[in-house]
């Protein structure tokens, strides 16, 4: 069985993976270890969890403009999220996947959802993010 959620394409691309949800914003600089993809901020609810290969679902980014650099490094070492789902994507967060596409030829699609759709995603679900077609498919 499949369930489809409509969204808005931020960075195009298609990826599938296991969902990891947080209601807290994420700063890639300072909260994600660029070598391992582990959340290393003890105050974050995803502390010690890995973003590598996950469909990472968080409301919006925060923090330093260095976040884009950390995202590029995660892609270089193969520890980047497979895709990102937000309610609101700011330029700093979008920059990492955009540079990654043109520099390493790797896609990290980003899709944004309205709050109600955002709530439908739960940690552990397996989903396909098709940002190009503006849709997320939940595989049950």
């Amino acid at each position: 069985m499949e369930q489809k959620i409509k969204g808005r394409c931020v960075v195009p691309g298609i990826a599938a993976g296991e969902v990891l949800v947080t209601s807290q914003p994420i700063s890639f600089w300072g909260e994600v270890d660029p070598a391992t993809g582990l959340i290393n901020d003890p105050q974050h609810e995803l502390f010690r969890q890995s973003v590598a290969g996950k469909v990472l679902v968080f409301p919006f980014g925060k923090g330093s403009s260095t976040g884009s650099l950390i995202m590029l490094e995660l892609a270089r070492v193969g520890k980047a999220p497979a895709a990102i789902v937000n309610v609101r994507t700011e330029p700093i967060l979008a920059t990492g996947p955009i540079v990654c596409k043109h520099f390493y030829g790797k896609e990290i699609p980003i899709i944004s959802l309205v709050e109600k759709s955002f709530q439908m995603l739960e940690t552990g679900q397996y989903v396909t993010v098709n940002a190009t077609e503006k849709v997320i498919i939940i595989h049950h």
């Binding site: 923090g63 650099l69 490094e73 330029p91 920059t95 955009i98």
Partner: protein
């Protein structure tokens, strides 16, 4: 996005691979944020200047090796380290070549080696209304809010792309309509003597950042006597606790001389207040140090100005930094040359204060220095120190920092919001 024939030819690779990559990145960003076209910028300030991860070094070296050059005057943020006195700073000889390679790649592209996070105090300073592309959170907030130049919060890697093309997508804070304030923050219950204490400005900024988050706010009640350096500390604090790109200070921000100008004729969506009690609370929250002992005092986040060094020299006058304490101040090479020539540097050195250039205290090589607790006059540093370096810290006025440096233990003078 509507592109000119020249831009289309760049995307087709007719002006080289570096320009193609740089413009592709800028166009994609513009598409994400609904920009109709690209627009020229007159200057760029690059944030991604400190070696942190290999991906950043690879990207910048690739652009440089492809023969890219900056199309507009481009200043550079600090390196992670003092590029001249890196050994004294304890940087390992294994890691130094990477810092050096990153610096060399930017210089090869003809960026200006300013190595400073306060590019608005020396270097290529924009005028009111000028369209620019800056990285570095404190500099962005300062350029938009104090000078009235116009920049978005450009991310690392996007900044060098803008420098190579000399253009950015036309969106966000480049456009007047997006510079309209949404919330009003009133300073309530503050007295004139409170504003005479320098420590109030970083703390006020820290609170404003927490409240405003990524929204444009207008702050009512800042005194006309506020100095350039006070505003530097304010916006560094604000841009560390919130994603502040622009914050109108009514009567100070050039385009915000009245409330009506801030809100472009409409009403605030919400009105909030900051009180002196909140200042005391923020000072308390910025303190992660549990014990009384302090062995590292760090100032110059953002980089110190000549006026700030003069004040430091006045305060330390005749005293010596305690043998258990390292006192480091960070600045640009320009300011360093000035204070060397007028003798302030020697006064500071005689008192036991070391002045480093180029670098960032948040990037100090902590494996080489076993500090246990820091104190600073920067809300930005205090905010990031514990989370970035694992080192507990305390915030205080510069006078508090000097008293603490001399005694080796936290000393605080009475402040109007913290009566003894």
């Amino acid at each position: 996005m509507r592109l000119t024939d020249e831009e289309k030819s760049i995307l087709d690779g007719k002006q080289g691979e570096a320009a193609r990559i740089a413009l592709s990145v800028l166009v994609d960003l513009g598409e994400v944020f609904g920009a109709e076209s690209l627009m020229p910028v007159s200057q760029v300030h690059i944030d991604a200047t400190l070696y942190m991860v290999d991906a950043g070094l690879q990207f910048v070296e690739k652009l440089a090796n492809l023969g890219a050059k900056t199309a507009v005057p481009t200043s550079l943020n600090p390196s992670a380290i003092d590029l001249v006195r890196w050994k004294e700073l304890g940087v390992s000889p294994e890691i130094f070549p990477k810092h050096h390679r990153l610096a060399a790649a930017y210089i090869k592209m003809q960026a200006i080696p300013t190595w400073t996070c306060a590019p608005y105090q020396q270097g290529i300073i924009p005028r009111f209304g000028e369209q620019i592309a800056w990285g570095e959170s404190n500099a962005i907030a300062f350029a938009n809010s104090v000078i009235g130049a116009r920049t978005n919060r450009y991310a690392d890697l996007m900044d060098i792309c803008a420098a190579i093309i000399g253009k950015v997508p036309k969106f966000g804070l480049h456009l007047s309509r997006n510079r309209k304030a949404k919330m009003l923050i009133e300073l309530k219950g503050f007295t004139g003597s409170m504003f005479e204490n320098d420590a109030i400005y970083p703390l006020l900024g820290y609170l404003v950042g927490e409240i405003a988050s990524d929204q444009v706010a207008a702050v009512l009640g800042m005194p006309p006597s506020v100095t350039f350096d006070n505003l530097k500390g304010f916006f560094a604090g604000a841009a560390s606790s919130g994603a502040v790109g622009l914050c109108h200070l009514v009567g100070i921000t050039p385009e915000a001389q009245s409330l009506e100008m801030c809100f472009q004729g409409s009403q605030p969506e919400n009105v909030l207040q900051i009180t002196p009690e909140m200042i005391a609370d923020s000072e308390h929250r910025l303190q992660t140090v549990q014990s009384e002992g302090i062995d590292w005092i760090t100032t110059g986040c953002p980089h110190y100005s000549p006026a700030e060094f003069m004040r430091l020299a006045e305060l330390i006058n005749g005293e010596k930094v305690h043998s258990s304490v390292a006192f480091w101040a960070f600045t640009s090479r320009t300011v360093y040359a000035w204070i060397k020539e007028n003798g302030i540097l020697k006064q500071l050195a005689d008192a036991g204060i070391t002045v480093f250039t180029d670098g960032c205290p948040l990037q100090y090589p902590r494996e080489s220095w076993n500090f246990s607790a820091a104190m600073t006059d920067s809300a930005k540093f205090a905010n990031y120190c514990y989370s970035q370096t694992g080192l507990p810290s305390a915030f205080g006025s510069l006078a508090d920092c000097v008293d603490t440096a001399v005694s080796g233990k936290i000393r605080r003078r009475e402040s109007p919001w913290n009566k003894k």
